[in-house]
Amino acid sequence: MRTRTKVWWWVGGLLIFAYCLFPVAWIVSLSLKAPSDLDNGSFLPSAVSWQNYQLVLTGDASGLFLPALRNSVGICLIATAISVVLAALCAYAVARLDFPGKALVLGLALGVSMFPVISIVTPLFNIWRTIGLFDTWAGLIIPYLSITLPLSIWTLSAFFREIPWEMEQAAQVDGATTAQAFRKVIVPLAGPGVATTAIIAFFLAWNDFVYGISLTSTERARPVPAALAFFTGASQFEEPTGAISAAAVIVTVPVVVLVLLFQRQIVAGLTQGAVKG
């Protein structure tokens, strides 16, 4: 009986693996099909072809894809960095200090995070046009903050509440300066939380599509998700299935690596305080 139950949980586990990885495997398989092999009607390619990767990395589509990759990485990193810094200040205050309006700050963050992105896009598009931020990095970084900042504030506040701040005092009593106490005691304690927040914020920014297609128009600032919708085949009438798949795989690699490296922290960050309070 007991082993039978165990077997069932194993089967369940394997099913979850299949569930999670199946579409990923499919897009990888698709990216390895040669253009003429795309319609073979089966899951796997008849023969592995690297043609699509060549196309997006060095071929015709590279002019579209490589700048987009550069934009996405740059814009998302900057947006993440800014929001983590701002959120850290804010979360420190929320977690440690007593001040009026604390609840209002958290409420505002929550409200913003629930906000429909498309509602902000319309006016932003108009404002950006007028002040010249349309199709620039800054023009995406700023709205990305509306996605990453609220999340960072909430996640970091939760992390910071768990930190035994009295250790800082103890270090100071032991003769350390404030700076030393901060560097030696608080940074190592707060570090993991900040890193986790940064990863999750990065995922959110990396995922954005609406801002990306609405607020850019050239490779100057267009991010990858938007560029995926812009690929073209051998002629303008041909659907670039292979190029899209190859590019999709390439942009998925970094997130998979992050997930593999930091799965424990990400789970902690995602569920931090969801029920603990």
Partner: protein, 427 residues
Amino acid sequence: MRRPTALLALALVAPLAACASAESGPPTIAWYVNPDSGGSARIAEQCTEESDGAYVLTTTLQPRDAPGQREQLVRRLAAGDTSIDLMSIDPPFIPEFANAGFLAPVPDEVAEVVTQDVAEGAVEGASFGGELVTVPFWANTQLLWYRKSVAEAAGLDMSQPVTWEQIIQAAADQGVTVAVQGTRAESLTVWVNALVTSAGGEILQNPDEEDPQAVVPDLDTDAGRTAAQIIADLSAAGVGGPQLSNADEDINASMFEGDSAGFMVNWPFVWQRAKSAVEAGTLDQAVLDDYGWAMYPQSVAGEPARPPYGGVNLGVSAFSEHPDLAFQAAQCIVDPQKQAEFYLSDGNPPGSLVAFDEPEVQEAFPMADLIKESLQNAAPRPQTPFYNEVSTSLQRTWHPPRSVSPDSSPSRAEDLIVDVLQGRALL
């Protein structure tokens, strides 16, 4: 794929060049091109060289579909963006650009040169209100593609013009498909417009009208109903293929390479596509040999067909800092010799009729003379400043193809076009 390294180099260098030239050297002319196989970038290089230091022509890629290209350009131009000098524009959107004041006027001497030996449809497509507002570049048209074996078995004489009724009937008899663009996108409007104009009608009575309130649709007519009847018949005969309501040019080209292929209306890229597939070994040479081509089908027997007209024209932005150089570059780009090369490398037919006479063109494209003839008969889509609204309304009311009926679709389209243009409906 032809010259990947050169292209990569260009992609990397182009922005640098743009920065550098702001300081010194010849001014940069930024050309917003449609996606192709690298032909535009090659032309840009050539023209930069030929300009002898007068300008540096750089290219920036636009989205794949025409409405997407329009959105991007309009957004930038509405902001008075000076970074666009020259742009490739799909003809139906040219009136909107002209009407909004986005296009620099074409100097008379330029107009004279660039309309010489150009198909009439192409000149029409480059104009608004009887005035040339863009420089005609390459032109495109759809042909009727058929499988010789199917036509023969059905006893159709393809050397004579055929009607939609005939090919639907033949396809039904032979158990094969008639591939048409039934997807809710611009290509549906292309099809409907060809059906309507071939039946002697027009989608709009007064496309030149600049007041949206005064635009009068003209679909609920014999021509409009004939067009709807053809779509309804095709759908009812079940010959549209399983994906009819999502079928775009690519899906149809792919279906036409398969076993159920009979007939198809499509752009000439399908020939290139099939040839590459043969080279790649995924398509039998026998299939390619079975490809036949003819003039677009007639909507009404005996009345000459008006095939779709597509392609790209070059507009100079009204906000460009170097309009004279931009026109100079445009003239260089549309040079017949370059158009012929562009045709050979990218498969986009030239708007210039003399380019068809190049021996290499004749050799590479056995249907070149038919394309030339088709271009001369081609009818543009309505040249209205409100094309986007008109086309989208049409797509909303004439999709999916199985819902199209001569009794309701034309009148519903008319109502929606009027409501949308008068600001009474969402799109």
